[in-house]
Symmetry: C4
Subunit: 277 residues, 4 copies
């Protein structure tokens, strides 16, 4: 466990965009191979699928990927399957042209281009989540901006961009990010941010690790709910300013193991109830 | 089970962008008798009752039917019972005059005319769901139209019609579709669409299979919730246009097995918890 | 089971206000003694406590009572305890002066006067529920009236009255119905209706049987939620008119066994999960 | 356990309308040592963590403390951990300078200054809860005041103060109460009240015992939800006046054992489901 954090920390340091700062980063921990690291990432990816379902960020749709440690131009993601049911055997490896390395007949997600195009332009990003996060969709369809109202969503910093697929794909798409051009346009709209809304569809959220991506996805949903509720009250709202948001965003990323511990247990508990089926 | 999936894939491949994915369509697969098909439809019907309850579309009321493969002028539906408790032994067969074939003393739903009258005029429809879908009822009672705001509800296409029972039955009904005339009026309001709202009551949703009817019912509820939340934000809303809605509606119907897999497991898991009672 | 319905039916017929009409009312069923009837009422009362908690009408507070069949000037209600935990041993008998018959040291609910004062003036009422029903409280505190928007709440008929304790008890009460005078004032506000809201507090709901009282309490909550959601949409709302409401209200009371069957199983299932504690 | 209840009853009887119901108050009951009392407080503190998570007041974040009976200048609180997972072994003791007495390598909550600074100036307070209570956050970010709309939240009395960290810490904080100065400013804003909102963050709630602090935290959340819903209705709202709120607030504190019994069982039931993980 200690080892893994060190690797992430090292990688974040190299990439220069260090929002991930782990507390207990042993310098003199035994080295871990990239193969070991990828095995751990795949295990976390399976768990993250279950957590996102258990926390209500995804339903039968939505997906999460992680970059390969061994080959940073590859990424791991499930075959086309409901997140709550994903197991290690469902995890496929893709290159950044979205070609599966060893598909074994497994079906790919139609929108895997979301993942590849962001990994190409954001070397700091290690994990990406695309979902139909229910409290977030209304903000994507409205001209009312999503902004950080809770300190738990400081990572939103200020106003979250909205991707309008008509700008990139015209007025007659099927709304899906089903090719590289649309994926690249989405990545461009995300820019250096953490979250991009997708009009009439959902959002895409990134992190420097699986855990922080999950933290960001869950609290984007929470923040959308809170902002919506605050708007309903009808008064004047005070949002986090840029400094407050940036500072607490970094702080919360460092504390990710605290909620992860309970999310993990709750997801495993729920999964166990389903096991008999 | 394998056989059926083969059929689905074959048909989807042939039709290009087929929305019609009926289970009884063997081309190269070993032939399945109409009796076998009906046995499978009844099994799916029982499961669909549990799924609709588990997903919050129905409570103690509401019902789902499926057309008979052997006799397309007959349909199957449960006796009058809460959907979560329906078992194969509760399933009754009716002709399109709503006469039970072999009632064995079982009580009929009062509103079975919803089903017969739609089956009469919509040969493409294989399954029908009537429910008091909670996020949908407010749209039926309000003059604010239900429209597709999420790509998961593309099947709504544009504005969903509202059935006002006073137009067909006068101002002194008991609100129920308790005869053929009211059923026919409801079917006429549905027209070629997928969903019709019923003022002060709920909605009726159709599909080309049990699975797609369930998909439509669940995401009609989801879309109503999302549109309501977007309206609360107070800004300008962008809905799906007609092409976007039609294209993604057809696409989602083809992906119905993905959410169905998790809905099925969740419904079975919940049912198991109740079994000891 | 058949026997019980007959008794209820007979009693309703005698009292002249027959909204409870049960389907299978055997005329020639073996007679049941009032003692047997009361034993069954107490069993249903325990179950109703669990159902109301399971369905979210009550939390740690709220209570349900039933009139005694043997002595219609007595009623049964739990000792002061959270409804989800009530067992047969908690059920106490009171006269209409709210004196416990055999307290055995058990503590009484402070607000039992709600029950006695309504039983005094409403011979048709067999069961009473007082709760802090969450979607209902806002209507009690607002001058926006609660009205039947869903056919499942036809029993509301038109506008639901609101009891303002300041009218009966002045501006310095503790908000509780803690004496006969306040109970009588509440009963007067209820009048011949089914539901009375209590400002800043909750509501009180009645029925001609435990089952119909529970049906009314659950769908008052549901209707409040639906009306609130419809108001949020911002358009014009069509409510049930008086005839529609009365007709479907009577119809739904006759169907109460359908939802009761699933409520019962869900409550027992939940209770079983807690049993190990 | 019996002993404690005797104390509560004795004190309530003596004080007439006492809000102060501290557990360590034996008069005629056999004396309990301060060590025994602290052991009981720690057991209740563990349980309270689970209850707050189970009731939705806290998620992976938030914390509850209790003052030491043996040394009123010390308090107990968990190490930095998700509340749902806290066990007796996680409980640490701090002095009012927030120095852990025997940390054994356990990590402290960053915001423990909330607790120490309130204990310093409020000798009546025995327990403190800090949370990101979801319905409360919108009121902290809005200029619409949180007020008692439900009699269950009479302890709010009138308008709840909002702590704006920019007033005490300037415009560039990370939003956290991470030092004594900020803790003292928060305690000052709380004043003699029961609840203080924290802009963009959550709230802090106090009580004269663990049980009453939990009661206050849960019903602050409930009241915020109800007030928000009442505002949505768009009409004129009647809130509790000062006398009504004070009287029912005191009354509810005396009844805390009723909801506590069910909260305890539900929390234990939920915890048991997780145990296998």
């Amino acid at each position: 466990m200690l080892t893994r954090f060190c690797c992430l920390f090292a990688l974040a340091a190299i990439s220069g965009i260090s929002t991930v700062v782990t507390p207990a980063c042993a310098q003199n921990a035994p080295m871990k191979s990239a193969e070991q690291e990828d095995a751990e990432r795949i295990a976390d990816l399976v768990l993250a699928n279950h957590i996102l379902a258990d926390q209500g960020v995804v339903d039968g749709f939505g997906h999460i990927s992680v970059r390969s440690a061994k080959n940073p131009n590859h990424y791991f993601i499930s075959r086309s399957r409901a997140p709550a049911l994903v197991s290690a055997d469902d995890i496929m490896e893709y290159d950044l042209d979205d070609q599966p390395i060893n598909p074994r007949g497994r079906t790919s997600y139609l929108e895997r281009f979301i993942h590849s195009e962001i990994y190409k332009v954001r070397p700091d990003v290690q994990s990406i989540i695309h979902s139909h996060s229910p409290a977030v969709i209304p903000f994507g369809a409205s001209d009312v901006p999503l902004r950080p109202i809770s300190h738990m969503a400081g990572f939103l910093i200020t106003v979250v961009p909205v991707f309008e697929i008509r700008d990139a794909g015209g007025n007659e798409t099927d709304m899906l990010i089903r090719n590289k051009a649309l994926g690249a346009a989405l990545a461009q709209k995300l820019g250096n941010g953490t979250v991009v809304l997708m009009r009439g569809h959902g959002d895409t959220v990134v992190g420097n690790s699986i855990k922080t991506a999950v933290l960001h996805a869950i609290y984007t949903e929470v923040n959308a709910h809170l902002e919506s509720d605050a708007i309903h009250l009808g008064g004047k709202i005070t949002f986090l300013n840029e400094v407050e948001a940036a500072k607490i965003g970094e702080q919360n990323d460092r504390l990710v193991d605290r909620p992860w511990e309970i999310w993990r247990i709750e997801a495993l508990s729920r999964a166990q109830q389903k096991q008999a089926q």
